[in-house]
């Protein structure tokens, strides 16, 4: 079903992207002559994606979303990492790049990119997810459209604690401001504790320099926390004894909980999504390997449960190793579909004992004015008799 290139081309041909595919791949390539009778191109300086593959991000005015349903394993190819920025992607010359750390420190310092690369380095695989990662408006939504604002990379850089040790953070400093060098001059206030826990200053992603869209040449990385706090194109850190109350932590990234507005909501709660079968796929009766990813900003995923009877009963899925801290974790569940209409869904359980909630549980906890940010309800897919798979939207207002 997800097999060879020919199948993929046919599947995509049937989808709404069909026209784009035909335009993107020249006729001569698709109907290529016997490859055993012609010599192909020689070794090149840079690899390419097969002309038969047309995997793309889905763009809007303010973001572009990772095609979760088209990926294998848990590393997001860097050019398919989701994007969210507030004033476009800046061009920053790495030779002129500097990071300023000042405020409540003993030694205000400036570090060049070369300086940062000389510090003891660390690599870590973790997800980054925008806390606005939720769509549920209609049945015809793909995993990419529902929650494609999450991606995963291996990041390399220096621990922020190493730099804080170098500048001598004063004991009374409890927050720091992280500021980007884009036209939004993006700013967020972060508790200093996160720096001592696991915050990183990263310059590489999946084996190469960070992509411009991801913060080239240097970004902050706060594992498990809402993506906006991992400020890209990082130019300045200022230590303080209070938060700055920037626009992105007051007007945005806050949400109604009953009669109050919740602020500084950092960790991403556990979540999962079945990426196969999912809209717009059509499945046939018989054996189906249900596949998907699960993740939690609070730690490791310990279990993913699958229901194939609309949530009445739940069975454990197999988790794919390695199961990493604050990381997308693959899961699989072998299921024999008898051809009757049903609903399938997954729920993630993390090492803190938290189980991914239903939408109703979220409404009970937060009230009907909730929404906008940190929505992680169970996602259900309806499988119709004809094998068509549709997303199941749920209203709460």
């Amino acid at each position: 079903m997800l097999g060879g290139a020919a199948t993929a081309a046919v599947m995509l041909f049937k989808s709404s992207y069909g026209k784009m595919i035909q335009a993107a791949i020249p006729e001569s390539v698709l109907q290529s002559a016997d490859p055993t009778k012609t010599i192909g191109p020689p070794p090149g300086e840079i690899g390419t994606r097969s002309a038969f593959e047309h995997v793309v991000k889905k763009t809007s005015d303010i973001s572009s979303r990772t095609p979760l349903q088209d990926l294998y394993g848990v590393i997001t190819p860097s050019d398919l990492h989701y994007e969210r920025h507030h004033a476009g992607v800046p061009v920053i010359d790495p030779h002129k790049y500097e990071l300023l750390i000042h405020g409540m420190v003993n030694k205000p310092m400036v570090f060049t990119l070369a300086d940062l690369k000389r510090f003891p380095s660390v690599s870590r695989i973790c997800f980054l997810e925008c806390s606005g990662n939720f769509r549920n408006s209609k049945e015809t939504l793909t995993p990419q459209e529902i929650c494609g604002l999450t991606s995963q990379s291996e990041w390399t850089g220096v621990m922020l604690s190493t730099l804080f040790r170098e500048v001598g953070v004063q004991p009374k400093a409890s927050w720091f401001l992280a500021e980007g060098g884009d036209a939004a001059i993006m700013t967020r206030s972060i508790p200093v504790k996160k720096a001592w826990d696991d915050a990183m200053i990263v310059y590489a992603q999946n084996g190469e320099a960070i992509r411009p869209e991801q913060g080239y040449p240097v970004r902050l990385l706060l594992p498990g926390w809402e993506g906006n706090t991992s400020v890209k194109w990082l130019r300045r850190l200022e230590l303080s004894d209070q938060p700055y109350m920037t626009r992105e932590e007051t007007s945005k990234y806050t949400y109604a909980v009953k009669d109050s507005i919740r602020q500084f909501s950092f960790e991403m709660d556990a979540r999962s999504i079945i990426t196969f079968p999912a809209f717009p796929q059509q499945v046939a009766k018989g054996w189906i390997e249900i596949r998907g990813i699960a993740w939690s900003g609070w730690g490791k995923i310990v279990k993913v449960e699958i229901s194939t009877d609309a949530g009445k009963t739940w069975q454990a899925a197999r988790l794919q190793e390695p199961v990493l801290d604050k990381a997308h974790t693959g899961f699989r569940y072998l299921w024999q579909w008898n051809g009757d209409t049903t609903e399938i869904m997954s729920r993630a359980i993390d090492e803190t004992g938290y189980t991914q909630p239903t939408l109703q549980q979220l409404v009970n906890a937060r009230g009907t004015d909730m929404g906008g940010y940190h929505m992680n309800p169970i996602t259900a897919w309806v499988i119709q008799r004809d094998g068509k798979v549709l997303f199941k939207p749920e209203k709460w207002k």
């Binding site: 300023l100 510090f119 003891p120 380095s121 500021e179 700013t187 826990d197 109050s260 090492e351």
Partner: protein, 188 residues
């Protein structure tokens, strides 16, 4: 290069999943990398404004001056009020005529923002969207005064400056609470 990561994979995590780092016991007191920052270069970048007023520059402005600047430099994208327009504007509506207006219908500065200093900080750092960083401090004070007045929070005569702006109490401030979720089974 990879040793930190390997260590992390095999390390123990506490309940809050703190990553245990490589042994730093024999690290030098300093790696001697980087250079001291000068006061001049700090001053050049240090543009942030805190709710207590720290970071606000000298200068002043009022709503009457601010209205003229707003019409010339902001209204094309943000409109002149909360009224829905025939065309979709590039920027969000900034003002309700009443600060108490239903924030579930339209979130604006008057009914949603907890601190007035944030207006100054944000407008100075990134507006107008198509020409960020072009406003003078006096212009930003005037625009801040105009937005606050148009939201029914200050009078047309109130002058905004480094002393008065932090004293403005925003109606929505009392609604803001820090996150009360924590590690564990409870859905919050």
């Amino acid at each position: 290069m990879l040793y930190g990561y390997m260590l992390c994979m095999s390390c123990k995590h506490n309940s809050n999943s703190t990553m245990v780092l490589q042994d730093t016991a024999n690290w030098p007191a300093t790696f001697g990398l980087g250079r001291p920052a000068t006061q001049a270069e700090i001053a050049k970048l240090d543009i942030d404004v805190r709710p207590d007023g720290k970071g606000l520059p000298p200068g002043a402005g009022d709503a009457i001056t601010g209205k003229t600047i707003y019409m010339a430099k902001c209204a094309a994208c943000h409109g002149t009020g909360a009224e829905p327009m025939d065309v979709k504007l590039p920027g969000p509506a900034l003002m309700n005529d009443s600060a108490g207006a239903d924030r579930n219908k339209l979130k604006t500065i008057g009914n949603y923002w907890p601190y007035a200093t944030t207006i100054f900080d944000y407008v100075r750092r990134t507006m107008p969207y198509n020409a960020p960083g072009t406003l003078t401090d006096n212009e930003v004070y005037s625009l801040t005064a105009y937005i606050l007045h148009a939201s029914n929070i200050i009078t047309a005569q109130t002058v905004m400056n480094a002393a008065s702006l932090p004293k403005v109490t925003m109606p929505a401030k009392k609604l803001f609470v820090p996150d009360n979720r924590h590690a564990g089974p409870e859905v919050r």
